[in-house]
Symmetry: C2
Subunit: 498 residues, 2 copies
């Protein structure tokens, strides 16, 4: 046995990388919430340097040898899982030449900048040359990572967000959903049409009252303000570190629901971060959240499953009424509950309801797979987008602003991300159903504003496992079966047709 | 000539160090203004890692060779000055063994923690063992740096805050001031006693109104909010980076002056940062502010010289009256001007007026020199402190809370810092007198809330020079003579006895 075991040296390396990541996370939060515009260039330099230093540490010449050597050392199961995750990080980082990494970053920034002008102008042609240039570099990166990982190009991109996520596993799930959705959406809309439309409470809703209500709801869900904050940004997000979780929302004085739903969604993300293993695994890859599917499942479990349930809305309704000095039948729990469950065929993903949302994601996933495979050209993207919407949702966007220009993802380089939204929604439905079935106190707790029983179950089944298991293993262990689209459609049927 | 010149490689190294420093600055601002308590340990890890990485870069084995090689390369005057500052940074960093750096950091944290309990309890004995341990390591550090820099131990500490600052240059200045002060304070107090005491405006003064007023004053002084912010912290400070300057204050609803004076003081620091050379020198040592004496001079020039002047208070008084809906004679300009110039013999440095402030600093400077030299033991510190106050200020603190326990500096390791306060105050008086004499529009501008003439002069004479000249050279070039305590005492006489 060698005198200096490799595994502890790797733990020390990844501890540094984790802390550098935490530092970057603070810089990003500040950029989105506090930084004046004039600080942007300097902040860019700071982030680029930290990224380059982290990349330099991770791809140092001795790392592959340490990984190989550690593989023959005696490790416990968590250490073994940690080594597996370390190798994944290293493989992703080392697969791509530094020049390509840099070219990709430049192309991402250039494409996103033009996209910000092209979207409001509904002018896809304006951004297409930049998108082509970016896509070429994304495909080159995907090919390099595919070879290193031994997977397809698309899977190599997906693996960046959802470790061990594979298109071959997603296809049957999405195909089943794509087949079930059109008749299901028809049925939900037909049922909805038989009932009077819910009343919309009249504003304005002062920001200070919305924020106070947000803090009250976060506290009920289990957010610990000794270890986190709520602030405002253009796009809600959950950032910071597990000891100091920073969530954001945005407030609309005419619509209290959008800001509060953002709060509940990001609180779901935050509770996952709070519940991670910590301790000796705090700065190790195995101690991280499992991936974007599980992270999205935790936000949607709170926002869509627990907090749009009848018991929760019944608990929250009088608090909302009091907070906004509301009057009349619009503030009754039943009305607010139905208001949160309005379904509509529409063009925009981010404002879609939970019934139609998967259709938006399935269209995008199929298109980005074809674009990465090279079987679709960006010249044909707008038409293919509209065809997809016609098939899965039965509507056609009037222009590309409401079509293939609406999302930032492709234009900022986030290829392979879209499927995690719907996989997350399905996972949320399956986890919540299992939790309520296994622990009788969970649903009554949600209805009393006491999320401790639910959080205890999530901590035990999901949060506390970090990345020691795969997403598929976590779901199977927690719910007794693999991810099953029928659970999601059953949830939709029960809630909207039951 | 060698193929690879060393100087550009050094510029690249120091660029990284500067950006790492900027990153740390953002983390520190966040810690003081935004971070929940539960984030403290993780933030400590982040700062420690960045510090260690910066230290590793600066003390890499090739750096001394690069510094030597660059010294024989053809450099313009700014590059030569830059190389001189690079060598100073390296000398400070390389002089001290890593184990001593770490031991010092641990001792600082331990001593500061106990001091936070000992101060309110007025219990110097409780913190003395920690202070002894810390002082021993400070002296060891000072000795190591003294040998590397070729200066005395105390000067090595002073040099950390005020490059090229030397006790031998300070002594005659402080001795002259120490001799002049007692009769001057007597005369000012006697003159003050002949006039009725100024009226104190009655509060409360809502925080929102104080903040709005602060922003209005900052804007008048030239603070650019596209490149900075105003927030709240326990102790006012100026942080961030020159593109994104973050100043803070604290608000007292019973006293609007304390918060606004904090704003004006920190705005002076901010304007110095805004005015630094930037461009190719932005991330180079020669592009930095000159040192703590000049930095403090810029804050005091705004707070004490310009903004307590009769013309400025006459401009600001009606705005203050309107902002706080004030009524009666307390809000008249003459009363507010006199209120800002009340002089009092008291025990606490941070709340001292500009007449007695130097006495507080002279006592501390003499004591810390004796403690570093080893001619005074901490056992004798409380008595020596009280003796010093009796001699220079004519009062004796009733306990150590109001005596040698009041300031954090010695207990957190900031030895050699104190003289910069009074050197800064003297420099401020000399610069402001010269500016007003050289540019007739400056004082009328200050009296019209238009600081552009003053700022133009400061930018030309001080800010834009970065660290290319020494503090002494900057003062001599800008004012036509070396720092002269007679200018400061003349300012006091003119303002309080004139």
């Amino acid at each position: 046995m060698p005198k200096h075991p490799a595994y502890p040296r790797l733990e020390e390396l990844f501890r540094k990388l984790s802390i550098l990541g935490d530092t970057t996370s603070v810089l990003q939060w500040d950029m989105a919430t506090m930084m004046p515009d004039g600080g942007a260039a300097a902040r860019g330099e700071q982030r680029a340097l930290l990224k380059a230093m982290a990349h330099g540490l991770l791809t140092a010449p001795e790392v592959p040898d340490l990984l190989d050597q550690a593989a023959s050392e005696t490790l416990d199961p968590w250490q073994s899982a940690n080594l597996r995750e370390m190798r994944r990080d290293w493989t992703h980082a080392a697969a791509v030449p530094a020049a390509l990494v840099e070219a990709l970053a430049v192309a991402e920034a250039a494409c996103e900048t033009v996209w910000r002008e092209a979207r409001p102008a509904a002018d896809f042609a304006r951004v297409r040359p930049r998108l082509d240039a970016l896509l070429a570099l994304v495909r080159e990166t995907a090919a390099a990572k595919a070879e290193a990982l031994g997977v397809s190009a698309y899977d190599a991109l997906l693996d960046q967000y959802e470790p061990m996520g594979r298109a071959a596993d997603i296809a049957p799930v999405f195909d089943a959903l794509a087949a079930a959705l059109p008749p299901l959406i028809d049925a939900v809309l037909a049922a909805q049409a038989t009932r009077p439309a819910p009343l919309v409470p009249a504003g304005p809703f002062p920001v200070a009252a919305q924020k106070a209500m947000g803090i009250e709801l976060m506290t009920a869900l289990g957010f610990d303000f000794r270890h986190g904050r709520l602030d405002v940004s253009c796009h809600p997000f959950c950032g910071g570190t597990p000891e100091d979780v920073r969530i954001t929302t945005r407030y609309d004085e005419d619509d209290f629901a959008s800001g509060l739903m953002g709060v509940l969604h990001e609180t779901g993300h935050a509770l996952y971060d709070f519940g991670l293993p910590g301790g000796r695994w705090r700065h190790q890859p195995v101690g991280r959240a499992r991936g974007m599917v599980m992270h999205e499942s935790q936000s949607l479990l709170m926002e869509m499953q627990a907090c749009r349930s009848q018991p929760f809305v019944a608990w929250a309704a009088p608090k909302l009424k009091a907070a906004f000095a509301g009057q009349g039948p619009a503030w009754e729990a039943d009305n607010l509950h139905r208001l949160g469950l309005v379904v509509k065929r529409d063009f925009i993903r981010v404002s879609a309801d939970e019934v139609t949302y998967p259709a938006h994601v399935i269209v995008r996933t199929r298109l980005e797979q074809a674009l990465i495979a090279g079987s679709l050209s960006t010249a044909d993207l707008p038409a293919a987008w509209n065809d997809g919407y016609r098939q899965v949702l039965g509507i056609v966007p009037p222009d590309d602003r409401l079509g293939c220009l609406q999302d930032i993802h492709w234009y900022c380089g986030a290829w392979g991300y879209f499927p995690t939204y719907t996989l997350g929604a399905m996972t949320a439905a399956q986890l919540f159903a299992a939790a309520c079935a296994q622990v009788p106190g969970i649903l009554p707790g949600v209805g009393a504003g006491d999320f401790r029983p639910l959080l205890g179950w999530l901590k035990e089944k999901i949060h506390g496992h970090g990345s020691v298991l795969s997403t598929a293993e976590l779901v199977a262990d927690a719910t007794g079966r693999p991810l099953d689209p029928a659970v999601f459609t059953a949830h939709i049927r029960q809630r909207y047709l039951g």
